[in-house]
Amino acid sequence: MRLCALVAALCPTGPALAESGATHPDAGSVIERYLEASGGRAHLSSIESLHATGTVTVPDQGLDGRIEVWLHADGRSRATLEIDGLGTVEEGTLPDLAWENSLMGPRIKRGEEKALALRNAAIEPLLDWRDRYESAEVEGMVSVGDRKAYRLVLTAPGGAEETRLIDTESFLPLGTEQTLDSPMGEIRTQSRVLETRTVDGLVYPVKVEQTAAGMRMVLELERLELDAEVPDGTFTPPDAVQRMAESG
């Protein structure tokens, strides 16, 4: 689900319908089953880097574009989104820096927004979820399309909640729900996984529909590489971001 997380402001889906009265397992076991279904804890832990490229469409408005994502196990990341006629949005992280560069200019992320970006920069944040989150709860089951999902609510230090919808049978991800707290306000986003694929033992969402602020976007990965050689400078922030970081 890193694809969604990295571009969450652009990513989402229809609302999940809550069901009550069902029994459900505890969060820890759901997470372990999820990790197992996604490729296994050992395999996921061994991945040093992930490189993905694909397409982006905003179907209602006829917009098309390209996306490229780099993730490194040490917390460095970079995502580049290019939409025809709209320009380029870049965002990235270093172990203690989260930044964005878009039409609105370069900026350093701070506070909750920074914390979220750093959490989402991991190749799989749930591997060490006890370190990243204060708590995890399964708050019932919901329907996502024709599937049933556990509603896994992760609470980060500071209180921000991230909700993951995990298939009750396959334990693969079906979607996410979260509120992004940024200088632009609190923006509710949702995502729905439309397709997953297995690449080198990793089961990964490769097609995701996301909605935010009433806008729907579809991201589809065409190529996913594990442990690809990272070109020099991939994670280096743009000059303007570096200047801002240096000046505090």
Binding site: L103, P183, M184, G185
Partner: protein, 436 residues
Amino acid sequence: VFTIGTGAAITEGAGANETEVPSRFVEAFHQVWSTVNERLPQEEREHVSWEDIGNRYRERLGGVRTRQQLRELLSEMLDELDRSHLAIVPAQAAGEVTAGTGDPDRAAGTAGLEARVLQQQAIVVAVTPGGPAARAGVSPGWIISAIEGSPLAPILGRISQAYASSTLLDLRLVEAVRSRLTGPRGRAIAVTFVDGRGERRVETLTLDAPRGEPARFGRLPPTPVWVSFDRRDGVGHLAFNAFLDPGRLMPEFERAVRSCRSCAGMVLDLRGNRGGIAAMAMGLAGWFVEEPGHALGTMKTPDSTIRFAVFPRPEPFRGRLAVLVDGLTASTAEILAGGLQDLGRARIFGSRTAGAALPSVIHRLPTGDAFQFPIASYRAADGEILEGRGVTPDEQIHPTREQLLAGRDPALQAALEWVHSDGSPRVGRAEQESAP
């Protein structure tokens, strides 16, 4: 990133080979009515009964035989809302015929002049160098009295009456003139002018490529975009006609600001700018605002409230900033002007803006036409809704025909005077840097 605001209604005539597809007409009608019902913010439609309006126009749907008739019916229905950014864009304009692609002879052409309606007369305010009007010797200040033999006065009179209490009046008046001076490149249009000596002159203008480079954004019709920058008396003057083509314009803005570090001030000329991509306004504002935490205003959708935040650039421009606006300054352009005014960062010169500031999107209809509709309401930084109100300049300046004939630009002149009124020296030589 995900909000666009465009100028007001875009309508064109029907294509020659449009066919009847009545079932699609019904689908298209339903899509338009339902979209407004579900997506237009409540506060933008609570002044009418959209249900009743839908019923009235649905009854007339049976008489629709062509796409053009459907467009007219839908446009009339949408007009009852009296809100901007509601438009039916014909399929041809929405994509099939594009400036810069396909058959250039069929692409949009213009007469190479800008007009405004001043005291009920269409007056030329600018002429594109080398364009059809310039080649015919047309100058600012000339009156356009008739086009293809049809006098403009009755048309302008009717529009003035219909929009008497609307901030959209200037926009609608100029659209009426502009639409009669555009068409396929190569078309010859006879225009009757009254020149600077008061003499009637009929000039045949052969429509040519518009100024600028065509920019595309999703389903918006291709829009020619130009930007220019020059320095006058040590003051930078940045002008552009639309917030589109960010890949070209944003670097131009940066270059202008960086080259003007020692300028006494800058003038941001948004007259005639119909808006475009909202994020560009936020990005441009970042060059002029030093402190973080500010916003130009707030956009409210049914499920989110989004601040149009300004992120200060590493080395912003700190000198005086003047913004020029007029009745054709719309949407993203007035969001920027109003935001900078509310933040106390800029002084505004000119005439009230169009008050057409609803963030919108464009969807495809079953007929192939496109439908532009608002998805949010917008409040300026002072908390007031901008739609239907517009931005009122700090110094209201309306050019006169005599000033235009004399080659004067009173709004720009006033802005330059204000920049220098703090004692800044008039330094630097005038030089022009413009891009198509």
